[in-house]
Symmetry: C2
Subunit: 337 residues, 2 copies
C-alpha cells in the first residue's frame, strides 16, 4: 500500500516537496484493533507542528517510514474488536495519510453513512463542528436575540459557529475573515449578516458599523488580539469563548496572548476556555442534532478536496500558507468498497 | 460645622498634612434632598485617586472649600424628600469628611439601626460586603465542596469572600495577604483554613501546599498577576471572579493587567468580571441574608476606627501606605442623636 511520509526530519514550516509517497506493507491488525481502508484524510494546521515534534509532546513520524498523522474516515476491512464489523465506517483522530490504517478500537467512533455525507464527519459533524456546537450551546448558551461575532469565520469551526448560533436563535451573526473571497463565502454560503475582511483598510470601522448594537457573544478562534477587539464591542455581560492559542495552554506567562483583565471587568464579561476533548461524551448528542441540519443544507462548510494521496502534500502547503478556502480533505479511495 | 478639605491641589499620593479642617456653614438642603448628621465616614483607597481627579472622570474637591468625598452613615436632621423622615439613618456614597452633608434622596439607602451595628453598613453589610456576596453567590455560585482562593484576604472584600464562601458550603477557603499580622487575622478571626503571606520567602510553595487539591473558585481582588497565579492552581472548569484593576476598565490595551488567554483555555476556566454597581438592586436581598450573620459573628471584619474628623487624615495616610488592618472608619459623631 501507499502512504505519505516525510523525506527527512524538518524544523520549519513544511513545504509540499518535504513529503513523498512510500510503498510499504499494509499494517498489522493486533487484538483490539481494526484494519481500515482510508476514504478521506483531514488536513489540519496542528499537523504542521506535530511533524516538527511541537504538538503536545508527541514524537514526529519517522521519515520514509511512518505516515503523516491525520484524522480519517475509513471503512473496516478486518476487525479484531467485538465493537466493529467488516464494512463499518469509522472516524479516528489516530489515522494517517495512507491507504490503510490500523486503529485501536477505543480510538474509533462509528459513523452512520446514511445520516449525512461521509466526509461531513471530518468537518461540520466532526471535531470542528463539535467545537463550534460546544462553545455555542454548552458554554455561551446562545439563544434568541444574541448578537454573535466569530473570527476565522470562513474556517470550519468559525463557519459552524455562525450557522449553529443562527439555528439557536441568534438575531445577528457577524464574522471576521481574511480576504474578499473568504468573506463572500461567509456571507453568501454560510448566511452570516456580515463578514469583515481584516486585511482591508478601515476594517475596524466597518466592524463597528456591522455591530451597531455591539455583541452579546464572541467566539475567539485565532488570537487574544481578536478577543480584545471583540471585547471592545461587547455589551455588558457578554459571554466570550476562547478556543485558539493551543501553544499557550500550559504556561502561566502572561505576555503570551494577553487579555486585559481590567477590560473584562469593565465589560462585566464572562470569558470561558473551550477544549473540545472535554465534549467527546456529547458527540452522539451533537451528531444527532446536527445531521439533519447538514442534510437539508442549514449547516454547510466549503471544502477544498483533492483526489489521491499524491496530491496531499500540495494541498497541505496551501493550508500552511492560508490559501485554502474551507475544510481541506484528501479523498484516498471510493466511499463504497 | 467642620469639614476636612485639601489645603491645595495635589498630583501625588496624599499625605496626612495635605488635609486641614475648615469651618463653614452647614450645607443647604434643596428640594428632594436630606440634610444629615454624619456618624461614620468610610476611608477608601479610590479616594486617593479621586482627589487627584483620576477616578472615573470626576473633578477633585476644591481646596479649602469642599469636603473630601466619602461614603457615610448619617442621621437625617432635615428632610425635603417624602422618602425620609427626621431621625432616619441613611447610607450614601455621596457623603464626605464633614459633620453634616446634604444628600440627594435618590443617592441614599435607608439603614435599619437594629439589624446590625450601624458601622457594618459601611463594611460587611455595605459595598464591600455586597461585592463579595455578588461574586460568590451570583457569579461564581459557590456551593458545597468548592475550594476558594482570594487575595487581599485581610481586606473587607477579601475577608467577606472567604466567610461568605464558607457560609455557602465551600469545603476549603484559602487567603493571600501581606504580612504575618494580616494573615493571623484572616486565619483566626475570619476562620480561613490558611492564609499565605505573599511577602515571605517561599510563599508560592506554601500556597501550593495549602491547595493540595487545587482550587475550584478564585476571587481576584488585586492584580492580574494574582489571577494568573490562581489559574495555575485551578482545577479544570474553575470559575474566577475579576474584581480589582479599576484603572483599566476602559482600555483595550492588552499589556495592562494581562491574563494569558491560552492558559484560560487550557484550564477550561470561566473568568467573570464583577462591577458592584450592577448589584445595587440586590442590596436589600443581600442585607437581609447577611445581617443575621453579622449579628451572630459569622461574618466579621476588623476595623481601624479613629474618633473625630481631626484624625481622619492620619488614618488615610496609613491606608494609602497599606499599614491599616481592616476597614478604615472615622467616627464623626455619636450614633444616637
Amino acid at each position: 500500500m501507499k502512504l505519505v511520509a516525510l523525506k527527512s526530519s524538518i524544523d520549519r514550516k513544511p513545504r509540499a516537496d518535504d513529503f513523498t509517497i512510500v510503498e510499504t506493507a499494509a499494517p498489522e491488525c493486533p487484538e483490539g484493533s481494526v484494519l481500515a481502508r482510508v476514504v478521506y484524510v483531514s488536513l489540519d494546521p496542528y499537523v504542521g507542528s506535530r511533524i516538527r515534534g511541537r504538538h503536545m509532546g508527541e514524537a514526529p513520524p519517522s521519515p520514509m517510514e511512518e505516515a503523516i498523522p491525520g484524522a480519517v474516515i475509513a471503512q473496516v476491512t478486518q476487525s479484531r474488536s467485538p465493537d466493529y464489523a467488516e464494512g463499518d465506517y469509522v472516524f479516528s483522530m489516530d489515522g494517517g495519510w495512507a491507504e490503510y490504517v490500523a486503529l485501536d478500537a477505543g480510538a474509533c467512533r462509528k459513523i452512520d453513512p446514511d445520516a449525512a455525507p461521509l466526509r461531513a464527519n471530518l468537518g461540520v459533524l466532526g471535531m470542528p463542528g463539535l467545537t463550534a456546537w460546544a462553545g455555542i450551546t454548552q458554554l455561551a448558551e446562545v439563544g434568541a436575540g444574541d448578537i454573535v461575532l466569530v473570527d476565522a469565520a470562513a474556517g470550519t469551526v468559525g463557519g459552524a459557529v455562525g450557522q449553529i448560533s443562527r439555528l439557536n436563535g441568534a438575531s445577528r451573526v457577524v464574522g471576521i475573515a481574511g480576504g474578499p473571497e473568504k468573506c463572500a463565502l461567509v456571507e453568501n454560503t454560510y448566511g452570516f449578516d456580515a463578514c469583515i475582511d481584516y486585511k482591508s483598510d478601515g476594517w475596524r470601522d466597518r466592524l463597528a458599523a456591522a455591530l451597531p448594537d455591539g455583541l452579546t457573544v464572541f467566539f475567539e478562534n485565532v488570537s487574544a488580539d481578536m478577543a480584545m477587539i471583540a471585547l471592545g464591542h461587547a455589551q455588558p455581560y457578554a459571554r466570550g469563548v476562547l478556543c485558539g492559542l493551543v501553544d499557550a495552554y500550559h504556561t502561566e506567562e502572561q505576555a503570551t496572548h494577553p487579555l486585559n483583565a481590567g477590560f473584562i471587568i469593565g465589560k462585566r464579561a464572562k470569558v470561558m476556555g473551550l477544549v473540545v476533548y472535554d465534549f467527546y461524551p456529547c458527540w452522539d448528542e451533537f451528531a444527532a442534532e446536527a445531521a439533519p441540519w447538514v442534510r437539508d443544507g442549514r449547516l454547510q462548510v466549503a471544502e477544498d478536496i483533492v483526489n489521491g494521496l499524491e496530491n496531499a502534500s500540495a494541498l497541505f502547503e496551501k493550508l500552511m500558507d492560508g490559501r485554502n478556502i474551507g475544510k481541506c480533505l484528501v479523498k484516498v479511495s471510493d466511499e463504497a468498497a
